[in-house]
């Protein structure tokens, strides 16, 4: 289940969906969908922070180079990877994380997933749009973009898990 091939496959799927489909969708109202933080969340619990950072860097770099965004995705994904252990510790279950489990909505439960992933996704979207506009006068527009895009990205991530992440077998 947690083997490396699954993660490499997911890496490719996420990069291709994000850069070829989502980055060229025009929804209006400044909405932009970003699903790649989900990949970083789904990496095994025992992954160490340096590995997380390097994986995030490679992923962001490949998305950036396909969609001409010059380091924007890389920077926001690095932030997610860096904050992941802190947010995971904040919401850790009483007996700690089970290394056999995966951080998906099925195995960790809805409440855990909504709070952990919600926080990280909101931070990532805010960071991304702030850097993209980079203008104090446009902060309202940045907030509008973040507040409209983050829930939609969140829903899309849940949908992706239903499709790609297999449900745990009854044990």
């Amino acid at each position: 289940m947690n083997n490396i091939v699954v993660h490499i496959f997911r890496f490719l799927v996420f990069v291709l969906i994000q850069s070829l489909v989502l980055n060229s969708l025009e929804i209006g109202l400044g909405i932009q969908l970003m699903i790649y933080p989900l990949f970083i969340i789904l990496l095994p619990f025992e992954t160490t922070l340096p590995v997380l950072l390097l994986v995030a860097f490679v992923m962001g770099f490949s998305i950036d180079s396909i969609s001409n965004t010059f380091g924007l995705h890389t920077s926001s994904l690095l932030l997610v990877a860096y904050l992941r252990p802190f947010v995971f510790n904040m919401f850790s279950p009483r007996e700690g994380y089970d290394p056999l489990k995966e951080a998906s909505i099925f195995e960790m439960g809805q409440r855990w997933f909504i709070s952990v992933f919600g926080i990280l996704l909101l931070i990532q979207h805010l960071w991304f749009f702030t850097l993209e506009m980079f203008n104090i006068n446009e902060m309202l527009y940045v907030f509008q973009k973040t507040i409209l895009s983050a829930p939609l990205s969140f829903l899309l991530c849940i949908l992706l898990q239903v499709i790609f992440v297999s449900k745990p077998k009854e044990r």
Binding site: N23, N68, G71
Partner: protein, 279 residues
């Protein structure tokens, strides 16, 4: 020394984070201040071959519209060729034309990747250095201006489109001759703004806006859009002119790159002007 090593050991993960973050941000901000970062663009071989595959699938989606647009352009051009004119008198002698010399040449190409929803939007074209495309050449489609070539590789080129922050194309309002710089505010890919038009000029809604042809990049009179809204800027004697682009950048596919044979000549003579201090 010992403390320093201990410090590095303690914060080594944070330092790695900072190092990678600085790298990402520096490419972003280098690009914002000088658009010259080459290695993160989709003109690189791997990403452009991925984009080519995608384009080979998606280009069929708007095939009908594109055919229609090309046909209309063909009709317009066909009306101009010699065969569609009736000859009024027989030519007596053949002369070598010394009055007209070709100034612009056009290289046709396909947009294989584009975006319109970011603050700065870049398009990738499937022509490059081998076809003679160079940085700084203008790009337009049959409906209007598209942008300026930003970087090229052997087979691909990246266009800095009209939908970027510092595009600054010289444009002119057709009937009055008022001119200004074209800008884009990052909100809606259908509308742009012109700055620098004094508000004692009389402008009308719906007037055509075309390129001015002053900067060697675009020939004079290429369509840009129509005036949509006029509001005076408070505290300045200027109009804030909103224009509706004539091209829909969300569905753009066929474009032409402009090669100006007289660019070097104009640049050379303009460089002889002694530099003034601006303001």
């Amino acid at each position: 020394m010992h403390n320093l090593l201990a410090f590095f050991r303690r914060f080594r993960i944070f330092l790695l984070f900072v190092l990678l973050q600085v790298f990402a941000l520096s490419t972003y901000f280098t690009y914002l201040s000088f658009p010259r970062s080459q290695y993160l663009t989709s003109a690189s071989i791997v990403s452009s071959s991925i984009l080519e595959v995608r384009n080979s699938i998606t280009k069929y989606w708007s095939l009908g519209e594109n055919n229609k647009a090309l046909q209309e352009e063909n009709i317009r051009l066909r009306e101009k060729i010699k065969g569609s004119f009736i000859r009024l008198e027989n030519p007596l002698v053949r002369i070598k034309d010394t009055l007209f010399r070709q100034q612009y040449e056009y290289i046709s190409s396909l947009v294989i990747n584009s975006s319109t929803n970011k603050r700065n939007n870049f398009f990738t074209l499937n022509v490059g250095g081998l076809q003679g495309v160079k940085r700084g050449m203008g790009v337009f489609s049959d409906k209007g201006v598209v942008g300026v070539i930003h970087s090229t590789s052997r087979h691909y080129a990246v266009v800095k489109s009209v939908l970027t922050e510092h595009i600054n194309i010289d444009v002119i309002v057709e009937s009055t001759g008022a001119f200004g710089l074209l800008k884009w505010d990052g909100r809606n890919s259908k509308f742009g703004t012109i700055t620098g038009i004094s508000n004692d000029m009389k402008l009308k809604k719906g007037t055509r806006v075309v390129t001015r042809g002053g900067s060697t990049i675009f020939p004079k009179g290429l369509m840009v859009g129509y005036i949509e809204k006029l509001t005076p800027i408070e505290g300045k004697p200027l109009w804030d002119v909103t224009i509706r682009f004539s091209e829909d950048y969300r569905s753009i596919q066929n474009v032409y790159v402009i090669k100006n044979f007289l660019k070097e000549e104009q640049d050379r003579i303009e460089n002889t002007i002694p530099e003034d201090k601006v303001e």
